[in-house]
């Protein structure tokens, strides 16, 4: 290993690339060479750094100074000041944003600004994801070592149960319980699957984790394997996530070389290996049984449950299916203990949640905050308010199947139970924030178009229901709707919920119900007055 004095990271997400990250990267290499620093400074492009307010960003370690936005012309000065003369180039610093600090601020939030609380994203943007040694330097594979040498499988499961960790894919199922179901199955073969088929519109938290800290997922899967008695794992990554696939492949190779994967890990008699399976573009494959079908090489059509994958999963064997973010919580829980984890979030939903903030706000991007903060806090503090000072109209949480949250629910704490009590769902963590210029009819039409397109077609209620719902929404949006259509929509959404085989059809009608509950007057205006109050829908002329 070459002794490197400084490490320089350049953000390489799509927006950075578009704004000249590549040129900045080139300029950095040239300038570092020009100052004769090539032997002591390394430069690399990383993926998404998790904030998008000053791209492209250049981050210099070990001082962790964040510069941005950096233009190619700035680079020579930056290198001369910071790397050559050792002074921070103040003019180029990115705007200050509060970051982490291990504060349990839910307990002490009165009147204070919340900081982010990074547990699963703690290494993202801070380490080179292609280098296993950096992961190890940042506590990597320490939890695995602890598990294999100091804990029994049962103790691992008990610790996860005690932490209260709940699935972060959307449903919030207790992770420890899921593991214990598989652990008690008597089977020679069991599997661990990491669900990285993130395709809920608006959600890209898992991509950020996979691109920024791939080893954390590998480590968690090995721990899960040890806990339930599985020796083989699959990571199902969506086909569109090319960079994540590449990073995972490299990470798995490195983990094998280091002996973290393979036979007799840490000299114990526990063995585990991981394969990558890439998707080919199908939203439904995020449903766990459809995902399993897809790994088996079939159409991604969900199975009927029960039996659940915990008893009858991949190739009929007991299988744990966990979301990326869920798994990323496992090593820190093992390392710091369940009590530590419970200091964050709320009693029934401990820990943090990674949210993606989108829509008509000033700052979009990713945040990791304790469970239980409110939508108003997200909008005002993290998103820095609505764009152009427009009024907030609604937010959709958790992607297409999520709930439409009206302004009246802005102060409901965002955790699984508080949301359930208010009759809405938290979902996968996408927060699509819409302003007063958004037409609810147009929005729901777009959502129904999504479902009719992504319905796998296996069961009739979903296949036909989503198509009908789309047709009716289109008619209303064009001014051709009738009042009876609204009853028809409710009937459809109720029956899709009751009769569909899987979560896709069961939740497809959620936005319809919310639309009619909170925004009925606006829908009716399209029908009775042939007017779209926001002017978004193109109402066709009437004779």
């Amino acid at each position: 290993m070459k002794i490197i004095r400084s490490m320089v990271l350049v953000s390489g997400d799509p927006l950075s690339l578009e704004r000249g990250a590549e040129q900045v990267f080139q300029a950095l290499q040239n300038a570092i060479q020009a100052f004769g620093l090539s032997d002591e400074v390394s430069v690399m492009m990383i993926g998404d750094v998790g904030r998008h307010d000053a791209l492209p960003m250049v981050i210099v370690y070990p001082e962790a100074v964040v510069y941005g936005p950096v233009r190619p012309d700035d680079v020579r000065y930056l290198v001369e000041e910071h790397l050559y003369k050792g002074r921070i180039a103040n003019e180029l610093l990115a705007p200050v944003r509060e970051l982490s600090g291990r504060v349990a601020w839910v307990a002490a939030r009165k009147g204070t600004l919340p900081a982010e609380q990074r547990i699963v994203l703690r290494r993202v943007g801070l380490i080179n994801p292609d280098d296993i040694e950096e992961y190890i330097l940042h506590d990597g594979y320490t939890a695995l070592g602890k598990v294999l040498t100091e804990m029994t499988p049962n103790e691992v499961i008990e610790e996860i149960k005690k932490s209260g960790l709940r699935g972060r894919g959307g449903a919030g199922f207790p992770t420890g319980a899921k593991w214990s179901f598989v652990a008690r199955e008597k089977s020679e073969k069991k599997y661990i699957i990491c669900n990285a088929d993130e395709s809920e519109p608006g959600t890209f938290k898992d991509r950020i984790i996979l691109e920024g800290d791939p080893h954390s997922i590998i480590e968690a899967m090995i721990i899960a394997g040890y806990a339930v008695g599985a020796d083989e794992g699959y990571i199902y990554v969506r086909g569109e996530y090319l960079l994540a696939q590449e990073r995972l492949r490299r990470a798995i190779e490195q983990a094998r070389e280091m002996g973290f994967l393979g036979k007799n890990i840490f000299g114990t008699n526990f063995s585990f290996d991981i394969h990558i399976h890439t998707g080919a573009g199908a939203y439904i494959c995020g449903e766990e049984t459809a995902l399993i079908e897809s790994i088996e090489g079939k159409r991604g059509q969900p199975r009927s449950r029960p039996p659940f994958p915990t008893t009858y999963g991949l190739w009929g064997k007991p299988t744990v299916v966990n979301n990326v973010e869920t798994l990323a919580n496992v090593p820190p829980i093992i390392l710091n203990g369940a009590d530590w984890y419970r200091r964050f979030g709320t009693p029934s939903s401990p820990g943090t949640k990674v949210y993606t903030i989108l829509g008509n706000v000033n700052v979009t991007g990713v945040i990791e905050v304790p469970m239980g903060i409110t939508l108003r806090e997200v909008i005002n503090i993290y998103a820095k308010g609505m764009k152009g000072g427009a009024a907030f109209k609604l937010a959709q949480t958790g992607g297409s199947s999520g709930s439409l949250i009206p302004a009246s629910l802005q102060d409901t704490p965002m955790d699984f139970d508080s949301y359930a009590k208010a009759g809405v769902a938290l979902g996968s963590g996408a927060l699509l924030i819409c302003d007063e210029n958004t037409c609810v009819v147009d929005l729901v039409r777009v959502l129904m178009n999504f479902f009719r397109r992504e319905s796998c077609g296996k069961c009739n209620p979903c296949r036909i229901g989503t198509q009908r719902a789309y047709e009716i929404m289109s008619a209303i949006s064009e001014g051709r709707g009738k009042m009876e259509d609204l009853d028809q929509l409710l009937w459809l959404s109720e029956n899709m919920y009751l009769l569909s085989n899987c979560g896709l059809g069961q939740t497809a009608g959620t936005p319809i119900k919310d639309m009619l509950k909170h925004f009925r007057a606006e829908v009716e205006a399209h029908i009775t007055l042939h007017v779209c109050p926001t002017g978004v829908c193109k109402i066709k002329a009437f004779a």
Partner: protein, 161 residues
């Protein structure tokens, strides 16, 4: 000439199938990676390729076809030299996606799923690509463009002439 071209085409298809099966093994559970690789090399999945895969994997043709037609990233129809993907999901839609979609259709003179007569362009709509913080998003071949506006559409497409 005709048959020589035909032979050349057939050889290319068989070579793509061979390479994919070589890489993953002739096993049913590898069907999706195999088809993805062939699709990447040939731009789509021609009938001859599906026949060959069906033979080599000893799987009924209908089974191979049912997988090939299910997944968004696999195409059983030829596509243009450049493929423009437009994200039609809600996060892109509410930040100006609708106007970008109109500009794309007008500029290319194509509707969703159509290929231009000269074989240059295919325009398709896709579901969320996971790049939502920079919406509206379009992808041309493998290049991603974020924060797209209708005004930028001609300039972006001009890079591919």
């Amino acid at each position: 000439m005709q048959s020589e071209n035909g032979n050349h085409k057939k050889e290319k298809i068989l070579a793509a199938v061979e390479a994919a099966i070589e890489r993953y093994g002739a096993r049913r559970e590898e069907l999706i990676p195999i088809l993805s690789d062939i699709n990447r090399v040939l731009g789509y999945l021609p009938p001859e390729a599906l026949d060959e895969v069906s033979k080599r994997l000893k799987e009924p043709h209908s089974q191979v076809m049912s997988v090939a037609s299910f997944y968004q990233m696999l195409s059983t129809k030829p596509r243009g030299k450049h493929v423009v993907q437009f994200c039609e999901s809600a996060p892109c839609h509410v930040v100006g996606g609708r106007e970008v979609w109109e500009a794309l259709q007008e500029h290319l003179q194509l509707g969703a799923g159509e290929t231009s007569p000269d074989g240059q362009w295919t325009l398709i709509t896709v579901s969320c690509l996971g790049l939502c913080s920079v919406g509206p998003v379009i992808v041309v071949d493998e290049d991603v463009y974020g924060n797209v506006t209708p005004e930028r559409v001609p300039e972006i497409l001009a890079r591919y002439h």
